[in-house]
Structures are given as C-alpha cells and as structure tokens.
C-alpha cells in the first residue's frame, strides 16, 4: 500500500563528524585542514572540508602520506572515541526533540520519522534543526527527506551533491524525480552490495531510476524478497519501519587492535584480561550477566597468514564477576594462542546475556549465595571507586605489568567534553 503523503522519513547525518568534533572543541583546528586516523593510526578515516579541498583521500595509509600532510601543514589526529561518542550522544538526544521516532543508525547518522505540516513543506523544519544543531554543537548536518528509508538515504546523497541544496533535499517533493534518481548509481543505493551491484550492471541497470523501473519478476527471481522490497521502496512504498532502540543488548564486545603484532602468550593473555575486566564492568553497569564467554584473536587482514580463531565456554550460572570471568578468559586465551601467528587484534565477547535483577533468587545453596553476595559487593565497591576517582583506580594485577601491545594513538586529542581534568583552557 502506498503510504499517506503525510508521513516522511529523514536520514540525518553529520558532515565530517570526527573532524567537526575536533574542530569544535579546539580553536586551533578551526578552519584548518584536519585528518583523523583509524585505530592504531593506520589510515585516514575522516577529513575536514579543508583537508578534502587539498585532495587528501579517504583510506590512505598514514605512512604513505605522512610527508605530504606535513608539507601541507595538515593537522593529524588519532581517533578519539570518548570525544566522538559523547558528541554523538548529544547529537542524537537533541534530534529526538524534533522528530517523532528516531533510529540511531550509526555514530553520526539517524533515521527519523516526521509528519508533514499542512502545506507538506518540511524545508522549514529541516532548516531549523540544521541551524539548531550547528548552534548547539558546532556540527553541520545533512537532512535527506523521502517517503521511506531507501529514498531518505538517496535524498541525503543528493543534498550533499547538489550545490544549491544547502544540506537539505526532499525527494518526495521534487518535480523531476527521474533526473535526480538517474544521478544515483546502483552501487550507491542503500542495501545494494558489491555482488548485487555487479549483477545489476551486467543487466544494464546503472542507476536508481533504472532499478526502480526494472522488470519486477527479474529482481525477485534473483534477489528474492529483499530485492522486491528494495524496488518497492524506490517506488515510494514504505517497507522498512523505523526501528526503535532495543534496550536489551544481545552481547557485549570489547576488542582492540594491537599497536604491534602480538606473538607471546603472555601478551595475548594480558590483552584479553584487560578487555575482560572492561566487559565485566560494562555488564554490571547494565545489570547484565553472561553465561557464554567467548574470546577471539586474528592476524592482520593484510598479512599472508590470515588466521583467526575463536573459542567459548558455556557456564551453568550466569555471572558478572570479574574474578570468575578472568579465570575463564585466561584459560581460553591458552586455547586460541598459536606461536606461529602474529596476532593483530583480539577481544572478548559476553554472550547469552540475562538481566541480573531476575537472577538473584535462583541461586542453589546458601554457601554459594553468601559467596556470591560477598563478591558482588566487592565488584560494586570497585565500580564505585573507579567511577569516583579516575578509571582504573583499582584494577587487577594482570593488567599492571608493562603492556607492549596497546594501540598506537600518537596523536590523540583530549577527552575535552567528558573528563574534568582534560577540559579546554581559556587563555585570554
């Protein structure tokens, strides 16, 4: 059924989000070219508009472009996820006030639903929200509006590509829709992967308009219901609803890339233990307990070894106790270790999560309940102390030996918005 034209979906995303966060909180970076490096300072994952103008490409490995960046006086920063995470939380919470439903899609983009006013014109709404976000956070957003998610995504692309759009485009209210859909090549359509895109191109389907008008049976035969749904959305029907945030987490993962490849068991164990402590802490803060603990490690995707392994342990009783979890993780780390491989990343995964509030009663005998209580009190005290004083005021001895595997973050900016010790200074 074609939906009533009163409901619209918008895809709102932040432009150059990571670079904007850095530029907003550091006056020294304002209006200057800035690039952000991936974990481990590997390659360029974000650029300010000024760096784009200097033709710095996304994905370029840092070591290849180091000299050029230096020569052009481009500021280089490691990715600062405490800053981006905090700014993302602020952004999403502000957006909530200006729409009916919101689905946070990634750190810097969200689908929102909004009803059209009597004159059907959502440009004033979009302009208002755009200037508001800029005023509140110093971040520029792009608003793409359509009848559904697929078309909102396309509208967002058009808003970025059309000079006179001023960061807003409403695909449902344009007169020459065909011309606009022709500008979107099939591989840029939301939900079209590499394989699908190759198949479509082999069939002579090059852009969104051609996909919309393609023979329906042909799509369904090859791509099934997913393809049919995609075509229906391109036509303006709404198939994919806004998915409201699901509070029940299915699993908690903590993983990091290594600064230098890890070959010794001792280092691997230490890294996994550090992640396990963090994951346990996170579970307790969400009142969750796990009864299936997994650890994994892999070699670099770029190395010829290409080895990865993951092992897990099921538990009879779910737990959030760091000591018990550490014991298991240390054992599991021996299982995945292999001296022949250079590991580049490892992590722990807490699976089969249950809410600990419901679990209190199910403990079998008195002695273990007493022990449980004792250990849970200890964990709670440690969490409290770590919250009051800085992170890791209290931690486990295993993490305290020198850590040779930690990630390279040589150009990390400060936690300017989340840590009172690191807030910016006003000098004049």
């Amino acid at each position: 059924m074609r939906i009533s034209s009163n409901d619209a979906i918008a895809l709102i995303d932040a432009n150059n989000f990571y670079a904007s966060c850095e530029q907003n909180i550091n006056p020294n970076l304002r209006n200057k070219p800035v690039v952000i490096l991936s974990n481990n300072d590997g390659c360029i994952i974000a650029r300010s508009p000024e760096a784009r103008a200097l033709k710095i490409k996304m994905g370029t490995p840092y070591f290849k472009i180091k000299e050029k960046l230096n020569k052009l006086d481009i500021a280089v920063l490691s990715s600062n996820y405490s800053l981006y995470g905090d700014m993302s939380r602020r952004l999403m919470n502000l957006l909530k006030n200006y729409c009916e439903e919101i689905e946070i899609y990634s750190i810097d983009e969200a689908f929102v639903s909004i009803s059209r006013p009597n004159d059907k014109n959502l440009y004033p709404w979009a302009r208002n929200i755009r200037s508001l976000i800029y005023q509140n956070l110093g971040i520029t957003i792009t608003v793409g509006i359509g009848e559904n998610k697929v078309r909102a995504k396309i509208a967002n692309k058009l808003a970025k590509n059309i000079d006179y759009s001023a960061g807003i485009f409403d695909l449902a209210r344009t007169k020459n829709e065909n011309n606009y859909l022709k500008r979107i090549s099939v591989d840029k359509i939301w939900g079209v992967g590499k394989q699908t895109s190759n198949w479509l191109q082999s069939k002579g389907i090059k852009n969104a308009k051609e996909l919309r008008d393609m023979e329906e049976n042909e799509i369904t035969k090859k791509l099934g219901i997913v393809g049919k749904r995609l075509q229906l959305e391109l036509k303006g029907y709404k198939c994919l609803p806004i998915e409201k945030k699901n509070n029940s987490k299915k699993e908690i993962q903590v993983s990091r890339s290594f600064g230098t490849p890890v070959t010794r068991l001792e280092d691997l164990t230490q890294a996994l233990a550090t992640h396990a402590i963090k994951a346990s802490e996170k579970m307790r803060s969400l009142n969750l307990q796990s009864s299936d603990i997994r650890v994994f490690a892999r070699t670099s995707k770029y190395s010829s070894q290409n080895y990865q392994r993951s092992v897990h342990r099921k538990l009879t009783n779910a737990t959030d106790d760091t000591n018990s979890i550490l014991k298991i993780v240390v054992e599991l780390s021996k299982e995945i270790y292999n001296p022949e491989y250079k590991f580049s990343k490892a992590g722990v995964l807490m699976q089969d999560l249950t809410n600990s509030e419901y679990l209190q009663q199910s403990v079998i005998n008195y002695k273990s309940q007493k022990d449980l209580k004792k250990s849970s009190n200890l964990m709670r005290t440690i969490d409290l102390l770590n919250k009051r004083f800085n992170n890791n005021a209290i931690t486990w001895a295993i993490t305290k030996k020198p850590q040779s595997w930690t990630m390279n973050k040589n150009f990390l900016s400060r936690s300017s918005t989340t840590d009172i010790e690191q807030i910016p200074t006003i000098v004049k």
């Binding site: 209006n31 602020r90 005023q135 509140n136 956070l137 009663q361 918005t417 009172i420 910016p424 004049k428």
Partner: protein, 138 residues
C-alpha cells in the same frame, strides 16, 4: 525476600536483616529524599553544555578568577551584556559581549587587558554563553 514467588513452589522464610533494628526508628525516615544534584540545578540544557577552565585574570572585575571552572551553554543566543566564550585566532577567549556606538565588541573585565573589536579580525566565532563560574576557595 520474595515469598509470593509461586513458580518455585517453595516457601521462603524471611531472614531478619539490618533493616529490622531494635531501638527507636529515626524520625527522619519518612522524609528521606534525594541528594541535591548540582547538575540538575545549574544545567538546563545538558546536551549543549560544556565545561572549560579559566587561566588568567582578564575577567576579574566580573568575579571570574584564575582557575575557575566555567559552565557554557552553547544553545543560548548571545546578547549584549552576556559573558561569552569566543574562538579568536586559534584560542578560546572569555569576554563580555558589549555594545558601544551601535557596534558590538568584546570587553575585557580588567583594565590591564585589551578589549576586542570585531573589525580587525576575520575569524571570530562566539562559541557559547557562560552561565556559571565556579570558584574554589581551598
């Protein structure tokens, strides 16, 4: 303990714990309320509020001293008379937004520091409005 849990088909006998104490109950028990939370009272727009630290004495006449903690609400539109944070020449600056002869300028609240005229600078941004400064006396 929950004795109404019918799924377990077991009776639970409540143990005496600390909350059942001998002696007189506190007359204040019924009046227990939450602590005063300064965040709640000082910050009305938490998602646009940021903290900064002052260095120097350029705002001393406005009562803002060296090392003070500054609370800035970026959602507010700056008006003349407001104390504002501006980004000027790659630095954060704190000044009072003022008006003289129909022209806006940034006023230092200390005679030893220069005022700041918008005319001479291309790259100025009013970053946010100061809503509180917190001074420590220890």
């Amino acid at each position: 303990m929950d004795s109404s849990d019918s799924t377990t088909k077991r009776f639970r006998i409540p143990l005496l714990n600390d909350s059942v104490s001998a002696g007189f109950p506190s007359p204040a028990d019924d009046y227990t309320e939450e602590n005063i939370d300064l965040n709640e009272h000082l910050i009305s727009n938490p998602f646009s509020t940021f903290f900064l630290r002052v260095k120097g004495e350029s705002m001393i006449n406005a009562g803002i001293k060296d090392k003070d903690l500054i609370i800035v609400d970026k959602s507010l539109i700056a008006k003349p008379g407001d104390i504002v944070i501006a980004m000027i020449d790659g630095e954060f600056t704190i000044k009072r937004l003022s008006i003289k002869n129909d022209e806006l300028y940034l006023k230092a609240e200390n005679h030893n520091y220069p005022d700041f005229s918008f005319k001479n600078h291309i790259d100025v941004q009013i970053w946010g409005v100061v809503i509180y400064s917190i001074h420590s006396y220890s």
